[in-house]
Symmetry: C2
Subunit: 186 residues, 2 copies
Amino acid sequence: MAREQQTETAVLGALSVEPMTGYAIREAIRDVLGHFWSESFGQIYPILRELERRGLVSRRGSARTHASTFAITEPGQARLRELLAQPIQPPTPRNGLLLRLFFGRHLGPEACRDLLAAARTGAARQLERYAAIRVEILADAANAEDRPYWLLTVAASEHAARATIAWADASLVELDALRTAGEGER
Amino acid sequence: MAREQQTETAVLGALSVEPMTGYAIREAIRDVLGHFWSESFGQIYPILRELERRGLVSRRGSARTHASTFAITEPGQARLRELLAQPIQPPTPRNGLLLRLFFGRHLGPEACRDLLAAARTGAARQLERYAAIRVEILADAANAEDRPYWLLTVAASEHAARATIAWADASLVELDALRTAGEGER
DNA sequence: GGGCACATGTAAGCTGTTACATGATTAA
DNA sequence: TTAATCATGTAACAGCTTACATGTGCCC
């Protein structure tokens, strides 16, 4: 699946929940899919125009009034199903934290400790956010059919965050052992 | 930290382990950092030339002979330490699997099941690869000082993979419940 | 001498972000 | 009425991948 089609998927998917303005699509993606997806205005508006041209979404209200709402059409629904069935494009891995830790010898144990502690804190904070999202999803009576799928994605992020915390805790212990050993050598 | 500096970090880091050709840098990044980093030739060669110009690496042998080895210089070491201390640039999240599952209602429980099963299989295969990398690192007597840091990154990936497996298992159970409920409604 | 792995590099092109320009609407 | 938020869009640019062009050295 080409990269561009993924934006198309996200936009059509957002509109499959309810009609929205382009601005609202961005907000929804940031607030609801934020833990696993992102789109910028520079992507969304051109795609919306393109989707409109192809009849996959319909615009209500003109762009000039600064209040045009987009709704997914029947062909749009079909296109969304088609896109969702495409093979998943594996992301190119780029983890700045692990890059630093891999070359951690040049940074020293203390700085690595700080990196790990920060990662742990960040993951813990994310867990709180996921709990809030979970509550929101459970409270949303309008989209009961979507609920199990939405909860699936939250669970994925929660598992990942808990794994990060467990890894950080174990690594902090190991780094401490390394620091003590380093002091012993002096 | 700007994106471009991250490539600089990866290249200088690779050369901090031992002098290498550009080709070998790519191989090393793919084989050793592959689970959390990637670089392509189109990035590596221009950066090497730039680093040479700035005196951060030195070239032995000419490009024309197709066998020039790059080594990190003393200023290069200092630059690497500086780069490693830069704040981490958070990656923009883009998880194609979670995007599909979020809109899973349109795909149906069976297709989502397949996605989860594939994710589980992939994570299990990765775990095997990490075990192999771990053995390699432990067997590498030349870089004993780097070892604890390298093992840290492997542990991170292992934790993540195990979290994926646990999540997939739990989610498969939930999806089955959903399928059964769906059949009961008919 | 044919194929393969090693090796260097460039150019085109895609994806995506950022910054900017512009305007409407609403609440203080 | 002024500030904040909602809203639409574009242009420039950064970053990265891919494909291509080219060549070396080795082994069968």
